[in-house]
């Protein structure tokens, strides 16, 4: 039994019976002739006494258990509230609020497991007194976390400091890590042997030390919090998976739609091209009819208009092809790709436009020694082809501007393995990209080629989509105007292929 409860009971008992026995005795002493009064007082008091005792006893207990009752009420409320919240951010805020409400502390924060990062990150905090700089995260393999996980119970800064006196190197680090957290009490939230989160509490506002009862309450809150956090994390994970699935489905739908749409548009363009071509053909074959200067003028105008129409049809077709290349369904699997083989096949694809004597490709790598990358061969081939095509166009512009007979278009391709990644670097000695154009480089349908040559404005957009969205890689551009362009692709090393 609680010591205070025991003492209060004795106190109440003494007080009540002092009155019950004392009052008749006092009456007998002061009014010795009155026999009836003390008897009546005795009878009344003996009847009322036990009820009075119980009444005051309850009052006292209520006072003593006020804190515990408050804890209980909060806990019941909390457990009901926590289970319902599926948003992890909101949940963490609620947990911190509950803790602050149960015991008045200067500040409170919660750190939650960040699975891929192997650390615990600050999830929510409340400050009551002074500004506190909580560290943003705590590493999973820190001594502090290891101690908390192994101990499975709340840690007090005071205990950690006691350990320092024993002066082992670990306990010094532990105390240092502890004080970095800005708390005097840390409560673990565990599921099995896994530390899912932990609460950091500042000193109590009253200045008193934490009582065993407070710590017990925190432990209960932390355990309930662990279950709720696990649920919320699970829900979040499921939501992400569902969103990914939805996105994949949407992409598939768009793919199918794009397929049908491009077929329809292509057919229209094809027919329009034939109509324009047919008319142009008639004009050419019946040139003899246009024998006056005025008619000749009309013929020229028509022929020009029709040839422009054909040109537009051809460009429209290229745009449809460009979109189709990206949205087309097909082999979506990734495997170990030989960079040299991707480059060779892309170069072959480029041959319909570029004659090999028009530009040099310099392989700055050993085709046998370079590692393979994880990727989709067809998509990577598309990326390489677009890069070759862009480099060629940039070099042709440079050639026409420089009027240097010594100028020779050259595209150097380098491969640099870097840990689990591989950088593939395409450097050309073309015209380069102006500061202003660089910002718009990856915008779909943006092209600088419109005036000089045909360009769909989809090349780099598709490159980025393929490399960054489908291959989780990166595309970087370094370029100076007139100084050439360097495109750096970062892809994942295919480990199994080595």
């Amino acid at each position: 039994m609680d010591m205070r409860l025991f003492l209060s009971r004795i106190g109440v008992l003494l007080a009540v019976y002092l009155v019950v026995i004392g009052l008749p005795v006092w009456l007998v002493i002061y009014y010795p002739l009155d026999r009836f009064g003390p008897l009546l007082a005795m009878a009344v008091l003996a009847t009322v006494g036990p009820f009075t005792y119980i009444f005051f006893q309850n009052k006292a207990a209520e006072r003593i258990f006020k804190d515990q009752r408050r804890y209980q009420a909060t806990l019941i409320q909390a457990s009901a509230g926590m289970g319902r919240i599926k948003d992890i951010r909101k949940l963490l805020k609620l947990i911190v609020r509950i803790v602050i409400r149960v015991v008045k502390v200067e500040h409170c924060a919660i750190y939650v497991l960040d699975t891929p990062g192997n650390k615990y990150t600050l999830g929510a905090m409340i400050l009551r007194r002074r500004p506190v700089m909580f560290p943003a995260s705590m590493l999973m393999d820190s001594i502090f976390i290891r101690e908390l996980t192994a101990g499975r119970r709340p840690l007090l800064l005071a205990d950690a400091e006691k350990k320092i006196r024993r002066n082992s190197a670990d306990s010094q680090i532990l105390a240092k890590e502890f004080s970095a957290l800005q708390g005097v009490l840390v409560v673990p939230a565990m599921i099995g042997n896994r530390l899912l989160a932990f609460l950091v509490l500042g000193p109590r506002i009253s200045g008193q030390a934490f009582r065993a009862a407070d710590i017990a309450v925190f432990t209960v809150v932390a355990n309930q919090a662990a279950t709720a956090i696990e649920n919320a994390l699970f829900y979040e994970n499921m939501k992400t998976t569902q969103e990914q699935l939805f996105k994949a489905e949407k992409m598939a739908t768009i793919g199918t739609m794009a397929d049908g749409l491009s077929h329809q548009i292509n057919n229209r363009l094809h027919a329009m091209g034939f109509i324009a071509g047919g008319m142009l053909d008639t004009l050419t074959l019946r040139k003899d009819l246009f024998n006056s200067p005025e008619l000749k003028e009309v013929e020229k105008e028509f022929a020009y208009a029709l040839s422009r129409l054909q040109d537009n049809v051809a460009r429209g077709g290229e745009i449809v092809q460009g979109i189709m290349k990206y949205s087309r369904k097909g082999d979506e699997g990734q495997s170990a790709c030989d960079i040299d083989r991707v480059l060779s096949s892309a170069w072959e694809m480029a041959q319909f436009k570029i004659r090999s004597d028009q530009m040099n490709i310099v392989k700055q790598y050993d085709p046998i020694l370079i590692p393979k990358v994880l990727g989709n061969f067809t998509q990577l081939q598309e990326v390489f082809f677009n890069l070759i095509d862009n480099a060629y166009d940039a070099m042709i512009v440079r050639k026409s501007l420089a009027e240097d007979p010594q100028y020779r278009p050259e595209l150097a391709v380098g491969v640099e393995p870097d840990g689990g990644l591989v950088r593939i670097i395409f450097s050309d000695n073309g015209i380069g990209i102006s500061e202003q154009d660089r910002k718009k480089l990856f915008t779909p349908f943006f092209t600088t080629k419109a005036t000089a040559r045909k360009g769909t404005g989809l090349g780099l957009y598709i490159i980025r989509k393929i490399v960054e969205d489908d291959h989780s890689g990166r595309v970087e551009v370094e370029s100076t105007h007139m100084g050439g362009t360097k495109i750096i692709l970062t892809l994942t090393l295919a480990k199994a292929a080595k």
Partner: protein, 119 residues
């Protein structure tokens, strides 16, 4: 006089191809779907068939398969709107001699068609 069969479900494509090649001394027959194409190919001898891949009903590939089943050999150039590598491969294995992509201008078509006539 070389004989050309144009198989396409687009009226404009058929008509304009016909007038274009007729002016160049080619006899042109037209079919608006696979069935009609098969019927014409069985009845007549063509120097070349221009066959659209995607049509209502039988596809161009279906027509090729049917021709192979009936043991009919004729030069076929497939006309496709998409760069479908699978279709190109299958068409080649089924005996087509060429594959061209829409949209294309008549001049290009002319050079393809006449190159096959001269072979």
């Amino acid at each position: 006089m070389p004989k050309l069969l144009v198989v396409d479900d687009e009226l404009d494509v058929r008509e304009f191809s016909r007038s274009f090649f007729q002016k160049r001394g080619v006899e042109v027959l037209m079919a608006q779907d696979g069935k009609e194409a098969l019927r014409l190919i069985e009845q007549d001898v063509f120097d070349l068939v221009l066959l659209d891949v995607r049509m209502n009903g039988m596809s161009g590939l279906d027509v090729l398969r049917e021709l192979r089943r009936r043991n009919i050999t004729v030069k076929v150039v497939l006309v496709s709107g998409t760069e479908d590598e699978g279709a190109v491969q299958e068409a080649t294995s089924l005996g087509s001699v060429g594959f061209i992509h829409k949209p294309l201008v008549l001049e290009e078509l002319k050079s393809v068609v006449f190159s096959h006539f001269s072979q």
